[in-house]
Symmetry: C2
Subunit: 328 residues, 2 copies
DNA sequence: CACTTTCCTGTAAGCGTTTACAACTATGAG
DNA sequence: CTCATAGTTGTAAACGCTTACAGGAAAGTG
């Protein structure tokens, strides 16, 4: 089949160790033997076997990415960022998505146990505190995107500032005072942080939170659609604006409004959070999150040595004003 | 570090071969020894090393996915389909994206040479005919998404029928006769097929193709935007409808129209091709392509034995009528 | 010239599995 | 009781690379 080190060494008339030194660019090889070996390598079209290398070196030069999903653009953009960072290195990227059906912990365990990756990037996964502890004892670099945790490198965003910029725009610039919210899934870090910031803003600015305008969501379009649909069908009054804790839910709100002939932004302003690809096309005012940058940072953390410091990155967000939050 | 086969065998008081037989569910092991071994495995929390397995078995149980990109939803949905099919098997998924910057051939070669995957899924890559020939001699299952090629399993879509359904709708149902086109990149199979079908339709139905309404695109939003922008700025007359050979370009057309105050569908009808996630939200009339299904089929082909027949799948498309092609 | 030192190269022992083949045990037949 | 047979288990050689260590040649030193 494919030629091996041994065949190359025979052809070049040197030992396997020397060939190995050449392909690993070790300094201690004469230019002359180097040339001989390179010639043999070229003639045989030799390429080292990844499996054999992994075993011998006890390192895989692979990083694993575990996401809840890959649909909808959000995670895809982070993955894009990761890939950009990994390109041009010798690292490979191996991906696994939970799709809401797979047990997220066992996906992660798979990578951990079979030692198929050197580093792991985990994003928005529901992992028990307990489980994280177990992970941290393993000889693997695990970086979390979305939440800080002691002992782990992580990349998060400044949710608080993002929320404030959005709400300040709605209340101060636009002058709305009757504001509704579509919450994220309880238990996830981003959702909790964003909602806390909303409550803090309301308290600080004397904004009144009306319970019937605080809708439950799970970061999915469908849940937000259903919540608004329900609100309208039940004859409930609408607020002047809805702040949705992510873009997908904003899309759900928009869809529900379209269904019922509620005009945006005429009858209702809508603001999202994330600013994925689709938000721009839908002209959604939203809080921009640097998704690529998050991916790049996470990847560079994951490729660091296992013992390097676990840096904790917090990226800034920025309100992007488009058409969905009021006429200009 | 992690326990190995040897440690398990010692603890269970059996040979490594026996342990191997147990973890591989080989039949020729007494229930009694099986139990002993399983106990030792559990006690040590043993898990086989993927690297060692790869080397010993000469198979990786990994399939590689090479796409031009991962942004924009289109490829992400196919990847989702692939992942769905791979979940619950022991296969891993390793991804690489070209981003327009990487040399696509060398990405593929990487996988080929280092034998890091058993199968490869290639989509919409610009690979020289010559190169495909080289690949086919290798001991690897390569499936192409987007084009048929002798000796390779492939999954394609019925572009012709999709084009006809879209154009028939525009001309017959809507009654438009002045139709413009935004073409895809020359040299790619899908773009060529779709454009051929357009020309055939025009010929058959006596539709007149006006050169100034045949715009060059490269399947990207930006190119389509620029083309329309240019057309409008130069004072050119617009057709009644634009058929864009993929969704992204339709989005570009819509954006350009928005910029210039051209109302869709009032002043101009727009139809796309692909029906990704965003198309539904933008209410774009488009030809639905079963992206998930393509991914699933490709994955199942890729996981087949290397010598099994190379099946050639052609999936059906379906026109999805939304709001962008005329008032209802 | 003998002896270090420096450089380069080779030998061989891993890395953690799988698996062909040999060896052993128990069983039943003759 | 002997021997073939079937069913389990063990031995040891791969798989293709890396790397600690040893060995040898050339060059420098006194």
């Amino acid at each position: 089949m494919s030629p091996t080190l041994v065949e190359v060494s025979r052809r070049a008339g040197v030992s396997t160790a020397t060939v190995s030194r050449v392909i690993n660019k070790s300094a201690l090889v004469t230019e002359a033997t180097r040339a001989k070996v390179m010639k043999a390598i070229r003639e045989l079209n030799y390429h080292p076997s990844r499996a054999a290398r992994m075993l011998a070196r006890q390192s895989t030069e692979t990083i694993g990415v575990v996401f809840p999903d890959i649909q909808g653009g959000f995670f895809a953009e982070v993955l894009h960022g990761i890939d950009l960072e990994v390109t041009d290195t010798r690292y490979h990227l191996i991906t696994a998505f939970a799709h809401g059906t797979q047990d997220e912990s066992s996906l992660v365990e798979g990578f951990l146990y079979e030692r198929s990756v050197d580093g792991l990037i985990l994003m928005n996964l529901a992992l028990p505190e307990e489980f994280l502890k177990t992970i941290s004892t393993r000889d693997m670099r695990v970086v979390l995107i979305d939440r800080p945790a002691p002992g782990f490198p992580s990349v998060c965003i400044d949710n608080g500032t993002g929320v404030v910029s959005a709400l300040a725009h709605l209340t101060e610039t636009r002058g709305y005072s009757r504001i509704g919210f579509v919450q994220g899934p309880i238990g996830t870090y981003d959702a909790e942080e964003r909602w806390s910031a909303c409550k803090a803003f309301a308290r600080d600015k004397g904004l009144i939170l009306n319970d019937s305008w605080i809708l439950n969501g799970d970061f999915s379009e469908g849940a937000a659609f259903a919540a608004i649909d329900q609100l309208i069908l039940s004859g409930g009054e609408l607020p002047e604006a809805f702040f949705c804790l992510n873009d997908h839910m904003a899309f759900g709100v928009m869809e529900a409004c379209r269904k019922h002939g509620v005009s945006i932004p005429g009858d209702l302003a809508v603001v999202g959070f994330d600013d994925g690809y689709t938000a721009r096309l839908l002209r959604l005012t939203t809080v921009h999150v640097p998704l690529h940058e998050m991916g790049r940072l996470a990847a560079s953390e994951a490729m660091k040595g296992k013992d390097e410091d676990a840096a904790h990155h917090v990226l800034q967000t920025e309100l992007v004003i488009r058409d969905s939050c009021g006429s200009n």
